[in-house]
Amino acid sequence: MNALSEALKEFIGLFVDDGSLAIASVVWILVMAFGCANIPALAEWRAPIFALGIAGILVENVIRSARK
């Protein structure tokens, strides 16, 4: 059981290092992929806004980490 939870922890560690970065990324994915899917005004801009948002999340996280 211990080995299993250890393996699970290692597996999750492949994707999540800083929890706030993972949470912010997932929230942004949910907002842009599903929340804004039916807004016609955003149709053409959804992809670039999504990408810039991810880049912004990365920079914000790096700044916060660098300040610590």
Binding site: E10, F11, L14, F15, V16, D17, D18, L21, A22, S25, V26, I29, M32, A33, F34, A37, A43, E44, R46, A47, P48, F50, A51, L52, I54, A55, G56, I57, L58, V59, N61, V62, I63, S65, A66, R67
Partner: protein, 252 residues
């Protein structure tokens, strides 16, 4: 299938897989040198067997999942995986965290394994598990990289890239019998972080019906966006740091 279509998947898979193979090789080399090659090879082959079994079981199941769901799931995992690498690479480049050092990783494993005085000729449980764990964990990342970069019908070039990386790293490991410290792993990880984050973002967009300008060519634009963002991150991190040269230590 043209080179411009298959090339990015092949190169991305090759570079990303190379990093994983180097990390696995370092651990297996340390196990083999300290506790004997029998244990190291048993652990390695057991790890490879488990990976093959997992691919054989889960691989065909991927064909039954609707494409847009697969793109979103793979995209999310790939984005989390890539942005984690990219964040660490930026903080390393900015001097906030120490650089990854294969020699230090090798030494750490060597010290860990040196404590128990079992014979190098006998099969050693701790050594087998250490090699097994390294191969399975790094191998899982390779499998994941191949699936992610090879989605959209590019599994063959992506697999070829990973296979080539494996052959290069294993051949070098057999030839020099030392950790591959001369491979610029930190730079590779930075580049791979940019590539995987770009692929992840692209697949999420594709799966959720976003319209990428230029279709597949937008991957290049995404790589530029994440490269620029990461360079901004490096510059800001450096501005917060007072010590210009970080010390090296073991970090994954």
């Amino acid at each position: 299938m043209t080179w411009t279509h298959a090339g990015p998947a092949l190169i991305a898979s090759f570079l990303a897989s190379m990093v994983e193979f180097v990390e696995a090789l370092t651990i297996v080399l340390a196990v083999g040198t300290i506790r004997g090659w029998k244990s190291a090879l048993y652990g390695t082959f057991a790890g490879v067997a488990l990976l093959v079994l997992m691919v054989a079981i889960f691989g065909p199941a991927l064909n039954h999942i609707p494409l847009h769901i697969l793109q979103i799931v793979i995209g999310v995992l790939l984005l989390l995986f890539g942005i984690r690498w990219l964040r660490k690479a930026v903080l390393r480049a900015g001097g906030k965290i120490s650089l990854h050092d294969e020699a230090a990783a090798y030494e750490k494993t060597r010290i860990k394994l040196s404590g128990n005085g079992s014979s190098v000729a006998a099969l050693d449980g701790v050594a087998v598990v250490t090699a097994f764990k390294a191969v399975v964990l790094e191998g899982l990342e390779v499998v994941f990289i191949v699936i992610a970069t090879g989605a959209n019908g590019l599994l063959i070039p992506a697999s070829a890239g990973a296979l080539a990386a494996g052959i290069v790293v294993i051949s070098l490991g057999i030839a020099i019998h030392k950790p591959l410290t001369r491979i610029p792993e930190n730079t590779l990880k930075y580049a791979v972080g940019v590539i995987l984050t770009s692929f992840g973002t692209f697949w999420i967009g594709e799966g959720s019906g976003m319209a990428w300008p230029g279709r597949d060519e937008s991957l290049l634009g995404l790589a530029v966006v994440f490269l620029v963002a990461s360079l901004i991150g490096v510059a800001i991190t450096k501005s917060y740091m007072r010590v210009p040269e970080p010390e090296t230590e073991v970090a994954s």
